[in-house]
Amino acid sequence: MKTDKRFEILRTGVAIGVALLIGFIVTCLVSEAPLKAFGYFLRGPFTTTRRFAAFLEAAIPLTFTGLAISLVFSAGQFNLGAEGQFFIGAVAATAAGIYLDLPPVIHTLVCLLAGIAAGAVAGFIPGILKAKWNASELVSSLMLNYVFLKLGMYLVTYHMRDQSVGALVSLPLKETSLLTQFIPNTRIHTGVFILLITVLFCYYYLFRTSQGYEVRMTGQNIEFARYSGIPVLSVILSVQVLAGAIAGLGGAVEMLGIYKRFQWLASPGYGFDGVIVATLAKNNPALVPVTALFLAYLRVGADVMAIYSDVSAEMVAIIQAVIILLVTAEAFLSGYRRRMLLREVKQSASAS
């Protein structure tokens, strides 16, 4: 087992190394001063306080969707609906933020609950379709992403739009609904604490509660779970609802923490980023913030590189793609793993 863990760390490390190397090669191909550009990329978030803050801010939504995805993946459900759940959660929080009149903290909480509820409903649909009719949650969640995107855009465009502004944005959210940005000169907001609670909740839920145990066993071997008496269909349903709620909460937190108005014209893509985050974290909620920070670091580093060099920030996409492909590739370095295992077997044989 130790070998397995060591091997996973090694494989992730090598994958990151290879990805960075490829990124560097690409930089060399397009840049006049590749060393300088890549240098900015590597230490970008550490160049100014503002950038460091941006790096932390960027990790917040990634962590939420990463948590949502890691829950459904733990149950063996390929639900990619975090994208739509996050979006509709943000829309719901926006509506509650614009139209309700409530005292400060309560208003925020109600907005968050609205996001949670919207996300939960969005997670419920693929869940129930799978549990009742065995419809592939992969396809249904992809379809629903568009449904919720369109629904959200409709609500914003026709019901919440601020007509006095030229661009398509919503009316401003009431001051009472917003999360406080508590560090001067940054946009780091109190949503961070909600995030930490959610991380702890997900970790404890998955590894310390009976329900989490049901989820993991269903994901590991659904026949075994059924045989053991675990109600697998209700597990499949409830985990998707819970994941939807978390993604929806993420959308609400992002909305209330960073923005004053709803201003997305397309889905911001955090759902699919969540897949990267969860995959790198091996679906472990405790590791999700770490991998989210890692991804945020790459993104902000790339932005900084783009400012100071002739290389555009999107170079980071290459690095991300290579990392995912290699980290999830079972055959990648598997020969090395076999040798490691052999060595371990030999050692334990000679030790006993």
């Binding site: 087992m1 071997n221 026949e223 053991s228």
Partner: protein, 530 residues
């Protein structure tokens, strides 16, 4: 006629000599097996489950690699490492699970891999003609344009045979071909096999059904426990002798049968009435009546595939489609789900350990608590108590002598015997009222088997009612207080005193040679209820 064929060629068409196959788990599936088939004969290969027939044929077809021994086809030594090579040597195999693509037509499946073409196009007409010609030639007529998904099992099998013939198979292996067929389809199959034989083909016919073996084969080879017991001319051996060769206890185990007087076993814990299960218009289970009382082990003997697996799935709630009633501890369990049935006090050792028994990549601890994860002390209904889990698991690991270094170790790093002990530890430690043990010691070493037998008997003496399903006669005869025999989905015999039965007699029932009258069985079963 055999003599005539033999004189054309010196020696047999197929000789497998000294074949030994040991699986990585340490299971010896074939031990120095020598198997000889003459050209133009139908050669039956018989034996109980686990006797090594299928392994031997897998070696022949290149699906398994043998550890020792040689294979000769037409006198030449051959090296077969893949089905493709086997086909190249003129060996064709009809598997129990058909190798067909359901949405393609009969003709398309038959010619797949060597399709007739017209330029770049697939020549549908030519393919159909090929099938019709081939079918006519061998008396295996099929509708070339029918979709595989729409044709009955018998036709699918015919398609498989035609596939092999099209590829020039001279030696045709059929693995339990009649298991899936209706009697009418069996008649048609036999006619076709006889025609093939007339045409000079050699057929290896794997079966359990001795009447069929007697009807169709020229010679018969009997295997038991990975060895060949002998080869006989079919004409010269009676079904009874064949059955004795096939079914026998390899070791007369002195097993500790639960010692309880009939008076002590009073309470009926498991009661099944008129259970019936139909699949694909075939009766998989019919008229099943049985009861198991506290303090006794009731064994179900029988060749595998006679409905035992389905019976267990229904009793444990894994399969819902059936008629009849089931009671566990006096409560109706007919419509209940697996979890609810467990709540009534049922434990289940499943036949397929790695599919149902464990989550292979989860830890030993996670596998040990899967039936009590929401009950104290493991959980207060919401939170898991890690300390209690650890303590419970250490306790179980010690009590059941599981060789594991650490409860956190993934269960698939243990040996087969220890994985089974994990299952047994979990199922036996919840003080079950009813235990259903399906092939509890299959494929595991003797040491682990012995402990599992010991636990079964202990649990029974502590008051559990045990239904033991096993294809291993030593086990089922040695442990049971009462014995039932299943054949073709029915209970064909009930022996109220398992000690008084001989294996020869049991074999006759298991192989369908004899059966008790249904009324008699029900009477004796219900008489036991007292």
């Amino acid at each position: 006629m055999e003599g005539g064929k033999e004189s054309q060629r010196e020696g047999p068409i197929l000789l497998m000599e000294g074949i030994t196959k040991i699986y990585p788990t340490g299971l010896v599936a074939n031990s120095n097996v020598t198997f000889e088939v003459r050209e133009g004969e139908i050669h039956a290969l018989v034996g109980e489950n686990g006797a090594g027939k299928t392994t031997l044929m897998k070696v022949l077809f290149g699906l398994e690699k043998h550890d020792a021994g040689n294979i000769f086809v037409k006198g030449e030594q051959v090296n077969i490492t893949s089905p493709r090579q086997a086909i190249g040597h003129g060996i064709g195999m009809v598997h129990q699970h058909f190798m067909l693509a359901p949405s393609l037509t009969v003709a398309e499946n038959i010619v797949l891999g060597q399709e007739p073409r017209k330029g770049i196009w697939f020549d549908q007409k030519k393919a159909a003609e090929t099938c019709i010609d081939l079918g006519k030639k061998y008396g295996l007529e099929v509708d070339p344009y029918a979709k595989i998904a729409d044709v009955p099992v018998g036709v699918k099998q015919r398609v498989e045979i035609l596939k092999a013939l099209l590829r020039g198979s001279e030696i045709l292996v059929l693995d339990e071909p009649t298991a899936v067929l209706t009697p009418q389809e069996t008649v048609e199959l036999f006619a076709a096999l006889k025609a093939l034989k007339e045409g000079g083909h050699t057929i290896i016919f794997i079966s359990h059904k001795l009447a069929e073996v007697k009807e169709i084969s020229d010679r018969v080879t009997v295997m038991r426990s990975g060895r060949v017991v002998g080869t006989r001319n079919t004409e010269e051996i009676s079904i009874r002798d064949l059955s004795n060769m096939m079914v026998g206890r390899d070791v007369e185990l002195e097993l500790p049968r639960p010692k309880m007087s009939a008076e002590d076993r009073r309470e009926v814990r498991l009661l099944v009435k008129d259970l019936k299960y139909v699949r694909d218009n075939k009766d998989v289970l019919k008229d099943i009546n049985l009861q198991v009382k506290s303090g006794e082990i009731v064994g179900i003997a029988g060749i595998e595939g006679n409905g035992q697996a389905e019976l267990v799935e229904i009793l444990t709630g894994l399969c819902e489609c059936h008629e009849g009633t089931i009671q566990i501890c006096g409560e109706d369990a007919t419509e209940k789900k697996p979890g609810e049935i467990r709540e009534l006090g049922l434990s289940h050792i499943p036949q397929d350990r790695m599919t149902f028994g464990v989550a292979a990549e989860a830890s030993v601890a996670e596998n040990l608590i899967s039936t009590r994860y929401n009950k104290p002390p493991i959980s207060n209904g919401f939170l898991l108590n890690l300390k209690a889990i650890f303590a419970t698991c250490l306790d179980l690991i010690n009590k059941f002598e599981i060789k594991a270094n650490d409860p956190k170790q993934p269960v698939n790093t243990l040996s087969g015997g220890n994985i089974q002990k994990v299952v047994v530890a979990r199922e036996f430690s919840t003080d079950p009222e009813v235990i259903i043990a399906n092939q509890p010691t299959r494929g595991i070493d003797i040491g682990a088997s012995e402990s599992i037998h010991k636990y079964l008997v202990n649990a029974t003496e502590n008051g559990a009612a045990v239904l033991l399903i096993s294809a291993d006669l030593s086990e089922v005869m040695g442990l049971s207080n009462r014995l039932l025999v299943m054949y073709e989905g029915r209970i064909v015999a009930h022996f109220p005193d398992a000690e008084a039965v001989t294996e020869e007699e049991l074999g006759l029932y298991m192989l369908g040679v004899k059966h008790q009258e249904p009324d008699e069985i029900v009477a004796s079963l219900m008489g036991e209820a007292g």
